[in-house]
């Protein structure tokens, strides 16, 4: 008999640490969930593994890989619990971090607060060095000046240093020089240089990214070292990978050097899972929807690919308000996050209208029905009153909910002041949070040039499957996919992510004046560097390289991504590149301007290893009797009739391949509940995915901006 091997996915979230163990031969899963232990997150990991070992004794000896995602880094930034960091900049620029881009993120709010710079002014030092925009050295680094700075830093108790010089993305010579000096004179200090973190143009974003990297480097280093040692003592000797915000996975060494790249590791996983399903089922337009306790995250996936963006924000002082956080310039999956979750609180706004979110009751005190003293009505309370949730089967029955407390909170805080019935108020809360998510979804999809009417919505998260039906109706989407283990789906995404790393470098050059030989050399350097990083993670496999050009019209502020064929860059003619640019620009924006000059801004390389096969076990074909899957019937609220009607309740674990039934239906599983209205029907496939079709939904798209405006 073949030796059984496993892969273990382990995702530390804000409230829970999720585990998914997959049997590499049969494709069978085991899951576990335990409370996160913020003071030392590795406690929860060890505990969760020990619990799994009670079901599968000794499995750790056969675990080939552990793939890990963690909120450790993002929490350290939000709570400002990182290391005391010193920043070294070019002379004249120590205030870069404080000046930012000088934009007020809320035009009408004169009392807006702004995030404190991650390095206070007193810990920022300047060095008299300088490069020109094209990388010529105007002034070298003077060793004595550096020594003086180091002396002050050591005296002040600095633990980690960030270096970012003006124009260093074009030439790393001065940053390399200072790195040499620091490594020699202060080897005990952690160091991050902007050239290594990400050599991209725009000094504020690059400095901020480098400073944040430095800020979280020590804490990540100690945590990962400890975790690896602990796992060793409980029998693990396989490979260990960390999820990156870009959707790839990487080695522990890379994560220690570039912790800023693992900030969004958790939210990304659901997108990666969706991407995998999109490819597996050949769905051209997929909308990944992941709704948890405090936030809803979503992402449009076109042709099996989620977009990557090069900047995102962390630590927003005004939650969900763009521009109120610190910009981080590393590749990250392009997902949209809003303050809408099961814990979102309903209240009356200053306009006398219902308002739901973005404030959340969190896990403590949580929704009113949690019986932990919370008296604010939340989305979960409304879902309970509407009959979508079973008070006796929340988290598989491990947590009993009190529906009377929900009713009381909704009655007192919403229905009475608005003069509506309690049920109207409950449905208002449910419907309004769906409207909020739908309008965010529509804007996100519009920005990406997609069409909400043709997407398949894939549902994840504890609250996702409860709200997906309502959301889909509002955006006009007709199909929904609920994958197995949707409530912990995120951790499943880990198994579908390739070992990959993205590197990029800015080098601004007008196409007509560009030296293609030099660009080929630049690509070669990026490929060698990224290959080195991959080999650290896993050697032997053949590395796949992908090259991307970031180009724009001269003078424009935003670039378009142009994936190019992997061949010697000098084999391209300038005309070919220009034609490719115009075609892509036209595809994205409906037209181009052939007479305007274009320029290169940044060059990107993605290096990845072939994806490991990942298969899901098929459902048993034994039971084919739908009656045996029914748990009973319960009254729940119909979105269409606006009254309670009987819903059939199914037990998901009993459903078989090809099972089909019509709404109104509720399908219960341990971590989540799927709600289907009377205008929808469900079908289970061989692997246990539930496909839901909404029969009457929005028609085909009526707007095509490409055809508007007649003139040529």
């Amino acid at each position: 008999m073949e030796q059984v091997t496993y892969r273990l996915g382990c995702d530390i979230g804000g409230t829970f640490t999720d585990f998914v163990l997959v049997n590499n031969i049969t494709g069978e899963f085991h899951t576990n969930k335990c409370l996160t232990t913020p003071s030392d997150p590795s406690d929860a990991i060890e505990q969760g593994i020990r619990e799994l070992a009670q079901i599968l004794p000794g499995f750790m000896d056969n675990v080939e890989e552990i793939i890990h995602g963690t909120t450790l880094v993002i929490n350290a930034i939000i709570e400002r619990k990182g290391a005391r960091t010193g920043l070294i900049t070019t002379k004249g620029f120590r205030d870069i971090l404080e000046l930012g881009r000088e934009k007020r993120y809320d035009a009408y709010d004169i009392f807006s607060e702004y995030p404190e710079p991650i390095v206070p002014r007193a810990d920022r030092a300047e060095i008299d060095e300088r490069l020109t925009f094209d990388g010529r050295v105007l002034k070298n680094v003077d060793t004595n000046e550096v020594l003086k700075v180091l002396e002050k830093f050591k005296k002040d108790g600095i633990e980690s240093i960030a270096v970012c010089f003006i124009n260093s993305y074009e030439n790393s010579v001065n940053e390399k020089k200072i790195k040499e000096i620091i490594e020699k004179e202060a080897p005990e200090l952690f160091l991050s240089t902007s050239f290594e973190v990400l050599p991209e143009i725009k000094e504020y974003e690059r400095t901020c990214t480098t400073a944040v990297n430095a800020y979280v480097k020590p804490i990540t280093f100690w945590y990962l070292n400890k975790l690896i040692t602990r796992l060793g003592t409980i029998g693990f000797d396989g490979k260990f990978f960390i999820m990156l915000s870009s959707g790839g996975i990487t080695s522990i060494e890379t994560a220690k050097n570039f912790p800023v790249r693992i900030i969004e590791s958790g939210p990304t996983a659901a997108v990666i899972a969706s991407q995998h399903y999109g490819q597996m089922f050949n769905i051209a337009d997929m909308f990944c929807f992941d709704m948890g306790g405090t936030t809803a995250k979503s992402c449009l996936i076109q042709d099996g690919h989620a977009g990557l963006v090069s900047t995102f924000e962390v630590g927003r002082v005004q939650r969900f308000q763009k521009g109120s956080g610190l910009p981080i310039q590393v590749p990250v999956v392009d997902l949209m996050e809003i303050g809408a979750g099961g814990g979102s609180i309903a209240k009356i706004s200053s306009l006398g209208l219902l308002q739901v979110g973005p404030e959340s009751a969190g896990a403590d005190p949580g929704p009113a029905c949690y019986k932990q003293g919370g008296d604010n009505p939340t989305v979960t309370d409304a879902d309970l009153v509407l009959g979508y949730l079973d008070p006796d089967f929340f988290l598989g029955g491990t947590m009993a909910l009190d529906i009377e407390l929900s009713k009381k909170a909704i009655q007192e805080k919403i229905a009475r002041p608005l003069g509506t019935t309690m049920v109207e108020a409950a449905f208002g809360i449910h419907d309004l949070i769906n409207e909020t998510m739908a309008s965010a979804a529509k804007t996100h999809i519009a920005e990406k040039g997609g069409n909400p009417n043709i997407v398949t919505v894939s549902a994840f998260g504890g609250a996702g499957p409860v709200h997906t039906y309502g959301l889909a109706k509002k955006i006009g989407a007709g199909s929904i996919l609920v994958p197995p283990l949707a409530g912990v789906g995120s951790a499943l995404g880990f198994f579908t992510a390739p070992v990959a790393f993205d590197l990029s470098r800015s080098h601004r050059k007008v196409l007509d004046e560009a030296d293609f030989k030099g660009i080929e050399l630049l690509f070669n350097e990026l490929e060698q560097e990224s290959a080195k990083i991959l080999e650290g993670a896993q050697s032997g496999d053949e590395i796949i390289f992908e090259r991307t050009l970031l180009m724009r019209f001269v003078g424009q502020g935003a670039e378009i991504d142009l994936g190019i064929e992997l061949k010697d860059f000098t084999m391209f003619s300038k005309d070919e590149i220009r034609t490719m640019f115009d075609e892509e620009y036209k595809r994205l924006y409906g037209r181009t301007s052939v007479e305007s000059p274009v320029e290169f801004v940044t060059f990107k390389v993605r290096a990845s290893l072939p994806k490991k096969p990942f298969s899901i076990s098929k459902l048993s074909t034994q039971n084919r009797n739908l009656e045996t899957c029914i748990k009973g019937e319960r009254q729940a609220f119909s979105v269409i009739k606006k009254e309670y009607i009987p819903f059939t309740v199914y037990d998901r674990s009993k459903l078989f391949a090809d099972a089909q039934f019509n709404g109104p239906a509720i399908i219960e599983e341990r971590e989540s509940t799927i709600v289907i209205g009377e205008d929808a029907k469900a079908k289970v496939d061989d692997y246990g995915f539930i496909w839901i079709k909404i029969v009457k939904s929005g028609g085909p798209i009526k707007s095509d901006i490409g055809q508007v405006g007649g003139y040529k």
Partner: protein, 574 residues
């Protein structure tokens, strides 16, 4: 107000309202994909909105710019009602950039259309984009609007779906960047089209025949909220006189206003304000109103969405022919140099009545704009524009934010982008010690930028010319309630004062310093928490000398620690 016979319950109303906002935001988002020029795509210098069938503003884009948005609320009502409802055809698209009807200068071009449902217009969708070029002579010292570019009166771009090609051709020949202009106009048509489609879809879904009932509800509720906020201000007539400096040799511009608070109404009157002038800083009524409105909304009800209801309680009068209600054909291209001050003027007038709602003077009023023209060593020309802020004024709650453009908004250009676009080298961009106006709450710190034209011998670039549209060189941002003024702005060439009104020429080896003003302080600086002053000194915001002089706080020079005993003694003997 029809609160009692409301057709929509509060839950349905919120859901429909949210959907309307999302419709505008969706059309707003499409612009980022379809617009051509970076001023639109990156700086978001455009506003999308729609009105009900009576021209009352119903919703505007969440990301709109205050100047355009406020002016459109007034302007669209007038424009829409200038044509009898029965004269509109399905497929009509109008274009107009009349500064007096819209946002105050020719670059702001409005494209708008009626939205037809069941054969009749039920709403109007409109968007104003700031077009980078509109022809004419690009300068703030033109004597009249004729010199400032192409003037497009109310004209049909499409007549019942048919494009007016002659008009398009005429525009193309009058602007420097025809392709960009063309693309951006198409983007406007597309944004309106999306808005129309989605509104029609919503009316079908919800079984609505008209939007006007819904509009009444939304507008009334907004009005009630705004009125409630205004009612909290003590009734009275509050006056303020201020002076805006003239650039270079131009005379000062006196502004006089009274703000009358009467129950839930606010009336602002500009009687006594300077007559309009013979250079480009004249402001049309709508643009003045926009920044008056900005003041009232930001001070009293910043959270509410903007529509007809938000502007109803706020009225304004200004004598015709004054600089805040200029008459045709006054030059208006640089109207923000005066217009941006309106917010601060209203704050100053209301300071005593609402001390916790306002902020002191800001260094980013007006937005500091510079336009550079130069050439590379090989003779190829380059040009670029930057916008700078200054320290924001302090409030009763907070120190002023360092460096912001207020009441307008914008972002700086990264040094690395500026250097790769031009021949200039930026020597520093940093905060200026002691520039924030001292106060119990300190004004925001101003910042300086020093640029140099490199002297590389034979490889040197050509002469660079610099135009300035800014201010605060003569009159610094005011402190308030005992707070001191922020520092003045300065404009230096090789360390000596340069003239900010005309063009400055910068040759290889020359150094230019752009020093923006610090924000005004709030309250007596001797009441400032000594530990906050200690931190200010440790961070270098305030010098040890000024800590003692302005704040009465003694800081140990070696340790940079607070000497509390000495401080208390000094403050006592003040």
């Amino acid at each position: 107000m029809n609160k009692n016979n409301s057709k929509f319950d509060p839950i349905t109303l919120e859901i429909l309202w949210k959907r309307l906002v999302s419709i505008v935001d969706e059309s707003d988002a499409s612009v980022i994909r379809t617009a051509f020029s970076s001023l639109l795509r990156d700086a978001h210098d455009y506003t999308c909105m729609f009105t009900d069938s009576r021209g009352q503003e119903l919703v505007q884009g969440t990301l709109c710019t205050p100047g355009q948005a406020g002016a459109m609320a007034l302007g669209m009502k007038k424009i829409v009602n200038s044509i009898p409802l029965e004269d509109y055809n399905e497929g009509d698209v109008f274009i107009i950039n009349d500064p007096w009807l819209l946002a105050g200068h020719l670059n702001d071009v409005c494209v708008w259309s009626p939205i037809f449902f069941k054969g009749r217009p039920v709403a109007f969708t409109a968007c104003v984009f700031h077009h980078t070029d509109i022809g004419g002579r690009t300068a703030s010292d033109n004597r009249d609007v004729y010199a400032e570019g192409l003037y497009i009166p109310l004209t049909k771009l499409y007549d019942a779906g048919r494009l007016n090609e002659s008009l398009v051709n005429m525009i193309r020949w009058n602007v420097r960047t025809a392709t960009e202009f063309d693309g951006d106009i198409r983007s406007q048509v597309a944004a309106n089209h999306i808005c129309s489609q989605k509104i029609i879809e919503m009316m079908e879904d919800e079984g609505l025949d008209t939007l006007d009932d819904l509009a009444d509800e939304i507008i009334d509720r907004t009005e009630i909220s705004m009125r409630k906020a205004i009612e909290k201000i003590t009734d009275g007539t509050y006056a303020h006189s201020g002076i805006i400096e003239g650039a270079g040799n131009k005379p000062d511009i006196p502004i006089k206003l009274t703000v009358k608070v009467d129950g839930s109404n606010i009336h602002v009157d500009f009687d006594g304000t300077s007559q309009q002038v013979d250079w480009g800083v004249n402001v049309v009524y709508n643009f003045t109103y926009a920044y008056v409105f900005m003041a009232i909304k930001s001070a009293f009800d910043p959270g509410i969405p903007i529509n007809e209801g938000a502007i109803r309680p706020i009225s304004m009068t200004a004598p015709e022919g004054t600089i805040v209600n200029c008459t045709f054909p006054a030059a208006v291209a640089a109207r923000m140099v005066v217009g941006h001050f309106m917010t601060e003027m209203v704050f100053n007038a209301l300071a005593k009545a609402a001390p916790d709602n306002i902020i002191a003077g800001s260094g980013g009023t007006p937005a500091q704009t510079n336009i550079f023209h130069g050439s590379f060593a090989n003779g190829k020309p380059w040009h670029t524009m930057i916008i700078r802020g200054g320290g924001m004024g302090a409030s009763s709650r907070f120190d002023g934010h360092h460096c912001a453009i207020f009441p307008a908004n914008g972002a700086n250009t990264p040094v690395e982008i500026l250097e790769s676009d031009t021949t200039m080298i930026v020597e520093s961009r940093s905060l200026i010690q002691d520039s924030g106006g001292p106060g119990k709450q300190r004004g925001g710190i101003g910042r300086q930028m020093v640029i140099r034209s490199p002297d590389d011998g034979d490889n040197s670039p050509g002469t660079t010319s610099i135009a300035v549209q800014a201010g605060r060189y003569i009159y610094p941002p005011d402190g308030i309630f005992g707070g001191k003024d922020g520092s003045k702005a300065k404009y230096l060439k090789n360390g000596k004062n340069a003239d900010p009104s005309g063009l400055t020429f910068c040759d290889p080896g020359d150094r230019i310093s752009f020093i923006s003003a610090g924000g005004g302080g709030y309250g007596d600086p001797f009441e400032r928490d000594p530990e906050a002053v200690e931190r200010d000194v440790q961070y270098g915001y305030v010098s040890i000398k000024k800590a003692k002089q302005d704040y009465g706080v003694i800081i140990e020079p070696d340790s940079l620690k607070l000497d509390l005993t000495a401080t208390l003694q000094l403050r006592e003997n003040k």
